[in-house]
């Protein structure tokens, strides 16, 4: 055997190598994405911009989003208030800037929590199958059978207006969707040859789920997450529009639209700017989802 010249440093070095490999693969993927998915790239940049705006909101927004300028109620866009002011004299631009925080917060929190729970449920359901699967699936079906916004309405209206309640409602909606994908993928992966190969060398369930299941279902999950992000942002806005979402004085875009609907004619800027911000962000996530789908589709990539 030839492992005589094995030195003790090797593991460290090796881990390093492996990281590098993954990193280069990741870098390659990024390059390929940039090359092939121009629209996706623009979407990412836009989302990135919004994230930046959200993080740097205090530096970007000229005013405190809840600060009431009692001299300027419903002021039309002007030099001081570039997007005008609302019915309490608050600066619309600042509110939109801060509002990005809420949309992103609700989006991220919902998507991440529901992915985690969805993965747990979906894995159990998909890997073990049988009666466990049967029971879980029926519960998921029951949740899915209630139209999403109706369920959100029901839960949010019961719990009262608060960001965390919106998130709870949306998480309940999204869980079955992720669970279903994960379950489907797990069932598909469970039948693949490489899992059979892994089982034939004696790997146990945990190993199969973690080493084979998860990494191979990331693609559809990422795509789904991106699209769910858009859906979630719209759902939050819809709930806030109905007055059961994010409570005032938080500058949620949906809430801004809800308050603005009565000023459609007298102060259209109150309707146009938040609506535009909302649509653009959702558009970016949807386009990103599409681009990711194209990018990750093995049929399309060589």
């Amino acid at each position: 055997m030839s492992q005589v010249h094995l030195d003790s440093e090797l593991p460290v070095k090796k881990v390093h190598i492996r990281k590098n490999i993954r990193l280069t693969k990741f870098k390659d993927d990024c390059k390929r994405f940039i090359r092939t998915q121009k629209i996706g790239l623009v979407s990412i940049l836009f989302i990135f911009l919004v994230v930046l705006v959200a993080i740097l909101a205090p530096m970007i927004a000229p005013f405190d989003p809840v600060d009431q300028n009692r001299e300027a109620f419903l002021a039309a866009p002007n030099a001081q208030h570039v997007m005008g002011t609302d019915d309490l004299g608050r600066d619309v631009f600042s509110r939109i800037v801060y509002g990005s925080r809420i949309s992103l917060l609700v989006g991220f929190a919902t998507v991440i929590i529901s992915i985690i729970i969805g993965i747990l449920i979906g894995m159990v359901s998909g890997y073990f199958g049988g009666i466990v699967d049967m029971v879980i699936q029926r519960i998921m079906d029951a949740i899915m059978a209630i139209p999403a916004l109706i369920l959100a309405l029901f839960i949010a209206a019961l719990l009262g207006p608060a960001i965390q309640n919106v998130i709870i409602a949306l998480v309940i909606i999204e869980i079955p969707r992720f669970a279903r994908i994960v379950r489907g993928e797990m069932m598909r992966i469970r039948e693949t040859n490489f899992v059979e190969a892994s089982r034939s060398v004696g790997a146990n369930a945990l190993r199969i789920i973690m080493r084979h299941g998860l990494p191979n279902m990331m693609a559809p999950i990422i795509v789904m997450a991106s699209l769910a992000f858009g859906q979630t942002i719209i759902a939050e806005a819809s709930l806030s529009f109905l007055g059961i979402g994010t409570p005032p004085p938080n500058p949620s875009w949906g809430l801004m639209l809800s308050n603005a609907s009565r000023y459609m004619e007298s102060a259209p800027w109150l309707v146009i700017f938040p609506g535009l911000a909302l649509s653009l962000l959702v558009l970016a996530f949807n386009l990103l989802g599409d681009a990711l789908r194209d990018f990750l589709d093995p049929k399309l990539s060589s």
């Binding site: 809840v66 600060d67 009431q68 009692r70 109620f73 419903l74 019915d87 309490l88 004299g89 209206a157 019961l158 719990l159 009262g160 207006p161 608060a162 007055g243 059961i244 409570p247 005032p248 004085p249 809800s258 308050n259 609907s261 009565r262 000023y263 459609m264 004619e265 007298s266 102060a267």
Partner: protein
């Protein structure tokens, strides 16, 4: 239904001169309302929508005067089903003489005459049903029908608000068949009122026709009355603009502004809202047990600017709502006792040991619509200016009304009070240590005595002085709930709507006088 949709030229009639002041009969009056009742049963529901509809169909024993010369806030009790009434010397026996009136011609009542027994059964029903309305008759010891046309109420003790209570919107008189269960009161209404309920399509519209046997000769003038449910404010305004609706409820100054631009003939009625926003504080929680803190809160609020910018006009309110006219403190006094003085507020806070203010939460519900939420935001900003950092907590209505507020589970809150129509209600239910709506932990023995005393004084002027004194005392020594403002409701009407003289009590009792000039 009438076909007047989409005809825009109609909203700008070329001659709007009052051609005739002689009322014309006929026509359909269409009104757009944001919501309709859950139930039509007027004793089980305190919602304004139920009582508006009840007002078309039912009558009370006595009611309030309306008309061109009567102020919106004048509470003049006038005959309704009772032609006249006598009060005994000691003020404990009230005898009502019923007029000749007939029930609507619908099954199972079929237009029979109103008898004293109807009144007695109705009153028993009011007392026996759970709910706020029972309290209105709590001082009644016994009732008796002397004959078909005479009803006698005997009170436990002299009780000044009694007649006013009898004019209260809960006191709609039903036929005894309804009380016996022969009529489904939740979906149907058979009364003596000016209009007959033809059809109620839940959440779509209610249609009423003229009652030909109404006891006031020649009234009502309208042939038909349609109440359309249009939840969206914008849609209501649009409906008005396009002539699909003859009247819509109150709209904001901005909305009015744009509306009068496109429909310059629009008549705008401005009336005082029948209730007020008030800030209430939980006196069992620190630091709100401190009078100075409560006073500071009161002084921090810029009431007049608030009501002007959010509601487009209104006035500083008092412990008794100004819509109760003579019972409320005069405006100057209200303003003087509740000055806007942020510096003073800061000083008071410092005195109370909070030179740098404190953090708290301000509870509000969105169940009353978004204007109140705006008020809450305004007040929060005002409080912030004096150092009180109040985070707004928006609570869902059912939780608010059945858990948070009654259980006094909050720091500060802002809300509307029910539309009380008696100073006794405004004061006693809220501020007596045993008041049914004392959800603020107020317990002031001195105040309790005054509140008990006031309701025994039969002489109106004397009683008013006492009510004023109580209000002054409250504004000086209790400062809870803190009255904020009462706003002017501006509601547009089409130019051809005549004789629209509403009253601040519930029930649209003026509709019998309305006529259309077109």
């Amino acid at each position: 239904s009438e076909d007047n949709g989409g005809n825009s030229s109609e909203s700008q009639p070329s001659n709007d001169e009052e051609g005739s002041s002689e009322p014309k009969h006929g026509g359909t009056f269409t009104m757009a309302t944001p919501a309709d009742p859950d139930t039509l049963d007027p004793h089980r529901q305190s919602s304004i929508y139920t009582h508006q509809m009840a007002g078309f169909v039912y009558n009370k024993l006595v009611t309030y005067e309306t008309g061109p010369d009567v102020e919106y806030t004048d509470y003049n009790v006038v005959p309704d089903l009772a032609e006249s009434w006598d009060i005994s010397e000691d003020g404990t026996v009230y005898t009502f003489h019923l007029r000749e009136a007939y029930w609507h011609d619908k099954e199972p009542v079929n237009g029979r005459q109103v008898v004293a027994e109807d009144v007695i059964s109705t009153m028993e029903r009011i007392i026996n049903l759970p709910g706020h309305q029972a309290a209105l008759l709590s001082e009644v010891e016994s009732m008796e029908a002397l004959d078909d046309k005479t009803v006698v109420f005997t009170l436990k003790q002299p009780f000044a608000p009694f007649l006013n209570f009898m004019a209260n919107h809960f006191m709609w008189i039903l036929p005894k068949e309804a009380i016996d269960g022969e009529i489904d009161l939740s979906t149907d209404a058979i009364g003596t009122g000016p209009f007959v309920l033809e059809e109620w399509e839940d959440n779509v519209q209610a249609t009423y026709s003229r009652n030909p046997n109404f006891f006031e000769e020649g009234k009502p003038y309208l042939d038909e009355l349609i109440y359309k449910v249009v939840p969206d404010q914008g849609a209501r305004i649009a409906a008005f603009r396009t002539g699909q609706s003859d009247a819509i409820g109150g709209i904001s100054p901005e909305e009015l502004n744009t509306l009068t631009k496109s429909n310059p003939d629009t008549i705008v009625k401005e009336v005082l809202f029948a209730t007020q926003e008030q800030v209430f504080v939980n006196m069992e929680r620190e630091p709100f047990d401190d009078l100075n803190v409560r006073k500071a809160i009161s002084m921090a609020i810029d009431r007049q600017s608030m009501v002007d910018s959010i509601y487009g006009g209104g006035e500083v309110s008092g412990p008794v709502n100004p819509s109760l006219g003579k019972w409320a403190l005069p405006l100057e006094e209200r303003e003087q006792l509740q000055p806007y003085d942020p510096e003073g507020a800061k000083a008071l806070l410092a005195e109370a040991g909070f030179p740098n203010g404190f953090d708290t939460t301000l509870m509000v519900t969105d169940g009353y619509g978004e204007q109140l939420v705006r008020v809450a935001q305004w007040i929060a900003e005002d409080l912030r200016n004096v150092g009180i950092n109040a985070e707004i907590e928006v609570v869902e209505y059912a939780t608010y009304f059945s858990e948070k507020w009654p259980n006094v589970d909050y720091d500060i809150g802002v809300g509307y009070q029910t539309y009380f129509q008696e100073p006794d209600e405004w004061l006693r239910t809220q501020m007596h240590s045993e008041g049914t709506r004392n959800w603020f932990n107020i317990s002031d023995p001195e105040l309790d005595v005054m509140l008990d005393e006031q309701r025994m004084i039969i002489d109106e002027d004397e009683r008013r002085e006492m009510v004023y004194d109580i209000q002054r005392y409250v504004l000086e020594n209790v400062v809870n709930p803190i009255p904020v403002s009462t706003y002017y409701v501006q509601s547009p009407q089409q130019p051809y709507v005549k004789n629209w003289e509403p009253h601040s009590s519930y029930g649209y009792i003026h509709m019998k006088d309305v006529w259309l000039d077109r």
